[in-house]
């Protein structure tokens, strides 16, 4: 599914290298957790994969089903099945959540050569998925993320994921700012989406999210590279011992 080879990336304008030869292979249907100390480059990895402006890839490739996604613009990556659940989802005044979801879904369908979804089908789809995530009608009518609480924003991200049905889901610190109930709702939403043809990269600083979303593989990211890989037990070990062994230098 995803194969990252020797990925080097830096922050544009600053020229500071954050990812320094990162290698990672995620197979279909797998859930990979990426953990690491602050400044290891976890969020940078998610941003670079999604194509956020402000980073420069200086070397390496990220192949999604054999195609390098790094040259694609963000919308094309999305059409190819990449989805980033943001750590800080932005507010978009003036664009109703519903309108946004429909525009995104149809844009992706169009890019894949599919017909637009009919309005009744769309409404049904949204209502079903929103219900699972306890997202109210009111939240759907309001502008995207405007006036949402931290937990509501994260649930809204998972709703988008459920509607857009991506191949590769990247969850960037999805647990940050969530209380235990919200964490449960979000995790259940993610777990429900696990499927043989869908992979997850779960980026987190803490083990607690992994109690709810059980990973197949756990990686430790430090100073811009994967330095250790193991099973779920690795996460527990990190929880117990901390990141002292992987002390990071200053990085974003």
């Amino acid at each position: 599914m995803l194969e990252i080879k020797n990925l080097h990336a830096e922050i544009e304008n600053e020229g500071r290298e954050i990812l320094r030869g990162l290698d990672l292979v995620v197979k279909s249907g797998e859930v990979h957790a990426i953990m690491g100390p602050n400044g290891a480059g976890k969020s940078t990895l998610s941003h670079v994969l999604a194509g956020k402006p402000g980073y420069r890839v200086t070397d390496g490739a990220a192949m999604l089903d054999g195609v390098d996604i790094l040259d694609m613009d963000p919308s094309l990556r999305a059409a190819n099945g990449v989805f980033l659940a943001f750590q800080y989802p932005v507010e978009i005044p003036g664009v109703a959540n519903m309108t946004f979801l429909k525009a995104a879904l149809n844009a992706q369908r169009k890019a894949r050569g599919q017909d637009e979804i009919s309005t009744p089908d769309f409404m049904r789809l949204v209502r079903t998925e929103a219900g699972k995530l306890k997202i109210t009608q009111d939240m759907l009518k309001r502008p995207v993320n405007v006036g949402f609480s931290g937990g509501e924003k994260k649930r809204n991200e998972i709703l988008q994921m459920a509607i857009l049905q991506p191949k590769l889901c990247i969850l960037d610190e999805t647990d940050s700012g969530l209380d235990i109930d919200a964490l449960k709702v979000v995790s259940d939403g993610v777990n429900a989406l696990r499927a043989p043809n869908r992979s997850f990269i779960v980026i987190t600083h803490y083990q607690r999210l992994l109690d709810h979303i059980r990973p197949d593989v756990v990686h430790v990211l430090s100073k811009g590279r994967i330095v250790k890989t193991g099973g779920p037990e690795l996460a527990l070990e990190l929880e117990a011992k901390g990141y002292a062994d992987y002390a990071s230098e200053e990085a974003a």
């Binding site: 999604a50 194509g51 956020k52 402006p53 613009d73 963000p74 919308s75 990556r77 999305a78 059409a79 990449v82 989805f83 980033l84 943001f86 989802p89 932005v90 978009i92 005044p93 003036g94 664009v95 309108t99 946004f100 525009a103 995104a104 879904l105 844009a107 992706q108 890019a111 502008p143 988008q160 857009l164």
Partner: protein, 443 residues
């Protein structure tokens, strides 16, 4: 009668043309005190950048000429000029002005309800002595009184509408005042009077258009009084030729506990200036919003002067512009709080997005406060469409060009969303979307 411009200065071509036109003023026009108005204009001439109120809109250098005032069109020509009505879905009563002249045969003023009277200004002048001295008398003591564009309409107007809503009356349906053009290169001057009585309510839709390619200088002045506890909804849609000029002024006095909800959408005109001069009585409420869409090499100016005279009044001003190509948008807005206007709550926002490398936006949001117990604020921004928002939308699969369309629509949506009537809102949104779509795909 001394009508010459100040002698120490050379006149511009436009000023010469206006002066010549004034000397030839048609005998058919209602006989009013036009001289005072023109003298007031002539004393200053066309305003220029050193005139603070026109700092960003230097009409002396921008107006290369001033076309002759339009003659009354034939009925056939007028009928031919009338295209589809943007507000048709609302089924409004309709007063039609073509080239600045009222055309009764194309108008439909029936069914406005009890207590609502509509007549032409010309007819009203003939019967109503109180209206006769109208020439120079526009909103005395306010910024409107000395405004040169107001003076020009006062000097040249061919006709207009007098709308009166009696105390306690409610208009049974909205009234649309439609201004169209036959496309002749000419100036049109229209002056409307609106009087909404105590506790009454009124909805007026103003529409302006001229065929692309025509060089029409269209001037409109609306003088309105909203008596105590009355409510008025006013929507103004302007879509002039990109070679023409549009000069609109709304001078309104909002009485105690009265409310005006005003929206203006400006698309088109090579030079557009939309002015709102409002005074607010005690506990009055003014909501005014503007959407400006400017493209090509055009200049669109929205100027507001909101004077809080009585205590406890609220005003909300929100003006947004999307500026493309080599266009310039200007916003000037002033909230003045007079000493007696304690507990004023005034908030003004002016925001522009620049959609091209050569687009420009200028803003001057002002607060002028003479009372201490107030809460007033303004905010202004000029920027391109937010990159973070763009990325967020694109990361969900929406292509760049559509992202931009969606975000422009959302940006202006804050203005249109507040239009309460769905039919009217849809009509204005349709115009805006048409403009956005016409930009084509430009990621």
């Amino acid at each position: 009668m001394n009508l010459v411009l100040a002698p120490d200065r050379r006149r511009t071509k436009a000023e010469e043309a206006l002066e010549a036109a004034f000397r030839r003023i048609d005998a058919e026009l209602p006989d009013l005190d036009r001289e005072t108005a023109f003298a007031r204009f002539a004393a200053q001439g066309l305003p220029h950048r050193r005139v603070e109120a026109y700092h960003f809109t230097d009409l002396r250098s921008m107006l290369a000429s001033a076309p002759e005032p339009a003659a009354r069109p034939s009925l056939d020509a007028a009928r031919a000029a009338l295209g589809a009505d943007v507000f048709a879905a609302v089924k409004p009563a309709r007063a039609v002005f073509v080239d600045g002249w009222f055309v009764a045969d194309l108008s439909d003023l029936a069914g406005l309800g009890d207590g609502v009277s509509v007549a032409t200004l010309a007819a009203t002048m003939a019967s109503d002595g109180a209206v006769r001295g109208l020439g120079a008398r526009v909103a005395p003591g306010t910024a409107a009184e000395t405004d040169p564009l107001v003076s020009l309409v006062s000097a040249f107007f061919s006709d207009g509408l007098v709308l009166r809503v009696a105390d306690g009356a409610t208009m049974a349906r909205p009234l649309e005042i439609r201004h169209v053009s036959t496309g002749v290169s000419a100036s049109a001057f229209v002056r409307h009077l609106v009087e909404v009585g105590e506790g009454a309510s009124a909805t007026v839709l103003e529409s302006h258009e001229s065929p692309e390619g025509s060089v029409v200088h269209a001037h409109t002045l609306v003088e309105m009084t909203v008596a105590a506890k009355a409510k008025v909804t006013w929507v103004d849609r302007q879509r002039e030729s990109h070679d023409g000029a549009r000069f609109s002024t709304l001078a309104v006095a909002i009485g105690d506990h009265a409310a005006l909800d005003h929206t203006v959408a400006t698309l088109g005109a090579k030079i557009a200036r939309t002015q709102v001069f409002a005074t607010l009585g005690a506990h009055a409420d003014l909501q005014t919003r503007g959407a400006t869409l400017a493209k090509g090499r055009t200049h669109a100016d929205a100027t507001l002067v909101v004077e809080h005279v009585g205590p406890g009044a609220t005003s909300r001003e929100l003006y947004k512009s999307a500026v493309d190509d080599e266009a310039t948008s200007v916003f000037q807005g002033r909230i003045t709080v007079q000493p007696a206007a304690q507990q004023t709550d005034g908030r003004m926002g002016a925001h522009a997005v620049l959609l091209s490398d050569r687009a420009e936006a200028k803003a001057k949001p002002e607060l002028e406060i003479f009372a201490d117990d107030v809460a007033c604020a303004h905010g202004a921004t000029v920027a391109e469409i937010d990159e973070t928002l763009k990325f967020y939308l694109m990361s969900r699969g929406i292509p760049a060009d559509e992202t931009e369309r969606l975000l422009i629509h959302a940006f202006l949506g804050e203005v249109t969303d507040a239009i309460s009537d769905e039919g009217v809102r849809t009509a204005i949104e349709g115009e805006i979307d048409g403009w956005i779509d016409a930009r084509g795909n430009r990621p």
